[in-house]
């Protein structure tokens, strides 16, 4: 028997038909900072993805529960051994330049183009033995061994499908068509006025009947955070994507009439904040000290005060928004007495520790100050270090720190976003994105490896639960908050955030109530 995972296209259509969408209108949305390029196959940073995620498409989209939904693929099947992924593509798809789209484009994108240009996808593609197109509407991915998170690798930012007829045999990075991107998405590239805006217009030939609803979208470039807030207040822009203005302005604007907000749309990235604690030397090398840090911190206070109530206290290495999360782990609620007892037990001698804040503005500075106070209350001597972005990169990647703030994306699966911080093979100087704290646990390394290539969901859950329980007990890092960056929008805008990457690919379904 084969798992027929879904053909939920009809279901999706039925739920969204509950409200009568209105055609037409123009949407102004802030993009911050200005993207370096709109060619999503070459550049995948946040701003590029927000604009180009509407020009290019992936085979799948993911809803806010991270469940796969149809996009360029109408339906798909995964063989029982987890080795063969078969995608049936939508009919009548054409590129923005009028050329027909076919399975050959998918094979070219995944097997040739992205293998060369997309570092993050390459990790998943390493498990792929072959990609073939038996006919124009079918693509088959054959894996060499089962890779659990593979089904999460098909959204537009991870595997954008690019036109073969434009890129085959060319120098991808210098192809002159990069300036006028051609995709299959609901919106077409119209104009880019550098420093001002990027203008997209509706794709009349889009394969989904009636979509998109909007006539045109303007991605507005406004360099100053306060000006962005003002532009929203005056109605010049309709949407402020998460992270485009400061937290206190978010809280202030949310109280105004006609302003709606949502914390959804970050499930795929699930930014997870924590402090690296240097496991190699100093007091932080002792697990009891690290546990004391966990107990000493009042993370709810920080969430309520510094983050204006946005976010959730992190229980461990995996975000509650990511697959295979468990809350069945050691509970590190604020408990200064326990922290003091642990410090007594290890015989902490008052050696000062340095805390390195993330140089991303006032919020993070306040956070470091709050942590410093919390730690001093239980008797830990703390100095706040300071560094700009370059200095922070240097200090963390050269391991010159005691405690250092950071946050990382989870990419929907522990094997993609989480494992890299805790496995021994990821201990390497020079990168601030790997196992910077220097945690070594060979037994868990084996479990991480096993979980990545296990296909059965229950089996994976069991392994990840064990991993989380042990790692939380060891506290190699100090988990802080699951960050939340609310998206603010004018209440007349409907169905803005419907996917796990929110406004990065959601405007297909968005409409404006007139």
């Amino acid at each position: 028997m084969k798992h027929l995972l879904t053909t939920s296209f009809l279901v999706a259509a039925a739920t969204s038909a509950a409200q009568a969408q209105q055609q037409g209108g123009r949407l102004d949305i802030v993009v911050q900072p200005e993207p370096p390029s709109l060619m999503l196959g070459l550049v995948q940073n946040g701003p590029t993805q927000m604009v180009a995620g509407h020009i290019y498409e992936g085979l799948l989209r993911y809803d806010t529960e991270l469940q796969p939904q149809p996009s360029l693929a109408e339906s798909w099947e995964i063989s029982e051994d987890g080795l063969t992924y078969t995608f049936n593509l939508q009919d009548d798809v054409v590129w923005h330049d009028g050329r027909p789209f076919s399975a050959e484009d998918v094979v070219f994108s995944a097997d040739t183009f992205l293998r060369e240009t997309h570092a993050r996808l390459r990790v998943s593609l390493a498990y792929v033995e072959s990609i073939t197109a038996p006919d124009d509407n079918t693509v088959v991915f054959q894996l060499s061994e089962p890779f659990g998170p593979f089904i999460n690798s098909f959204e537009a930012g991870t595997m954008p499908i690019v036109p073969k007829h434009i890129y085959e045999g060319t120098d991808y990075a210098n192809n002159e068509m990069n300036a006028t991107p051609i995709g299959t998405g609901p919106f077409k590239f119209e104009e880019w006025v550098k420093g001002s805006h990027i203008h997209l217009t509706a794709n009349e030939d889009y394969y989904l009947e009636g979509k998109p609803y909007l006539d045109e979208v303007f991605f507005r470039v406004i360099p100053d955070a306060a000006s962005r807030a003002v532009a929203f207040e005056t109605g010049e822009v309709d949407v402020l994507p998460g992270g485009s203005i400061e937290n206190w302005d978010v809280a202030r604007l949310m109280e105004e009439d006609d302003v709606c907000s949502t914390g959804k749309g970050w499930e795929f990235l699930a930014p997870h904040s924590f402090m690296w604690m240097n496991n190699r030397e100093g007091p932080t090398a002792d697990p009891r000290f690290r546990q004391a840090v966990m107990y000493a911190m009042d993370r709810e206070f920080v969430r309520d005060v510094v983050w204006n109530g946005f976010g959730k206290v992190a229980t461990g290495p995996v975000s509650s928004r990511t697959n295979f999360y468990t809350d069945d782990v050691t509970d590190y609620s604020h408990d200064p007495e326990k922290a003091k007892a642990l410090l007594d037990e290890m015989g902490y001698d008052g050696t000062p520790v340095r805390v390195l804040p993330l140089p991303y503005g006032e919020t993070w500075q306040r956070w470091a100050e709050a942590v410093k106070q919390n730690l001093q209350e239980v008797g830990i001597e703390v100095e706040i270090d300071s560094a700009d972005v370059a200095g922070w990169n240097q200090k963390t990647s050269e391991w010159d720190y005691d405690l250092a703030f950071t946050y990382l994306y989870q990419y929907g699966d522990p094997a993609l976003g989480t494992a890299r911080n805790y496995i021994e093979s990821q201990i390497e100087k020079g990168s601030p994105w790997n196992n910077v704290e220097g945690y070594r646990n060979p037994e868990l390394d084996a479990k991480w490896a096993e979980a990545a290539v296990t296909f059965d969901r229950d089996e994976r859950q069991k392994l990840y639960t064990e991993i989380q329980q042990e790692i939380v007990e060891d506290a190699p890092v100090a988990w802080l908050l699951e960050l939340e960056f609310p998206t603010l929008y004018d209440c007349s805008v409907q169905d803005l955030v419907t996917t796990a990457i929110g406004v990065n690919d959601g405007l297909r379904d968005t409409w404006i109530e007139q």
Binding site: R252, F301, V305, Q365, R366, A368, E369, I384, G391
Partner: protein
């Protein structure tokens, strides 16, 4: 000396300045007694308005820290940085200017070109660069301020020395066989003291402003509460919590104004022959 005080006290502004500065110094001295837990302690709910809660006359900041405690400890930092950086600047500028002015020739040329090298770079820009390179600590900030403040001192002292060395008492000292060093240290410099003192009092004020500006931009020592830091941290919430930037701003204004008034009073008292407008 009593003449000096009489002349000084004739200037009402200068007396007011002394009173204000004395108040600031007093607050700085008793800060640890008034707020033994220090300025970083989170004592109450955040964003309490001033004059509303007992024991928190100036309210609380974004993390629930006592604004009054921050001001008191900030006074220590401002005064310390102002004073020390001025002393360091004098220690660089006075000898350099004196030597340049007295010996003249290539010594003068070299010293002045060196001074101009610093003068051509805008003060504040240079201070930012220095602090950024050295990493912001109390020492590096003080040093950076001193390094950008000494060139005017050197030029002033050089000019004073140039005019003084042509006076008859210097000729007399030379005839009496005094060494150049003795003449410079014992005869010329004491006579150049009054403009230096006046300038120094104004430099303290400038240094306090510089330190506040650096801290405002996030280039303060992150472990030290200062007025500039308080304003910088409050800038972002200025629309909802005015008092967080208002009180430290007021403290800076008062201190800098006091130092300026004192400087002017000193100027009047030490140069009685300079009859300034409207004064007999």
């Amino acid at each position: 000396m009593s003449d000096f005080w009489i002349r000084f006290s004739r200037n009402k502004g200068a007396l007011l300045g002394i009173a204000m500065l004395a108040a600031v110094i007093l607050v700085a001295l008793v800060a640890p007694l008034m707020f033994p837990k220090g300025p970083w302690q989170m004592v109450q709910r955040p964003f309490l308005t001033p004059f509303a809660t007992e024991g928190l006359p100036l309210g609380t900041d974004t993390l629930g820290r006592n604004v009054a405690a921050g001001l008191a400890y900030g006074a220590r930092v401002s005064l310390l940085v102002g004073l020390v950086s001025t002393l360091v600047a004098l220690a660089i500028g006075v000898p350099l200017g004196a030597v340049a002015g007295y010996y003249g020739g290539w010594v003068d040329e070299a010293a002045m070109r060196f001074t101009e090298f610093f003068q051509t770079i805008p003060n504040f820009a240079l201070a930012i660069v220095l602090v950024a390179i050295m990493e912001p600590t109390l020492t590096s900030i003080t040093l950076a301020i001193a390094i950008v403040s000494w060139p005017p001192v050197a030029r002033l002292v050089r000019a004073e020395v140039l005019s003084l060395k042509k006076r008859e008492f210097v000729d007399a000292a030379q005839l009496a066989g005094l060494s150049n060093r003795r003449i410079l240290l014992a005869q010329i410099l004491p006579n150049a003291m009054s403009p230096i003192i006046v300038m120094a009092s104004l430099m303290v004020a400038t240094a306090i402003l510089l330190e506040s500006s650096l801290a405002f931009l996030g280039l303060g020592d992150p472990n030290i509460m200062s007025w500039g830091y308080m304003i910088g941290a409050a800038r972002t919430v200025i629309r909802s919590a005015w008092w967080l930037s208002f009180f430290p701003g007021l403290a800076i204004v008062i201190t800098v104004l006091a130092l300026n008034l004192i400087g002017e009073g000193l100027n009047d008292a030490m140069n009685p022959h300079l009859n300034r407008k409207g004064r007999a």
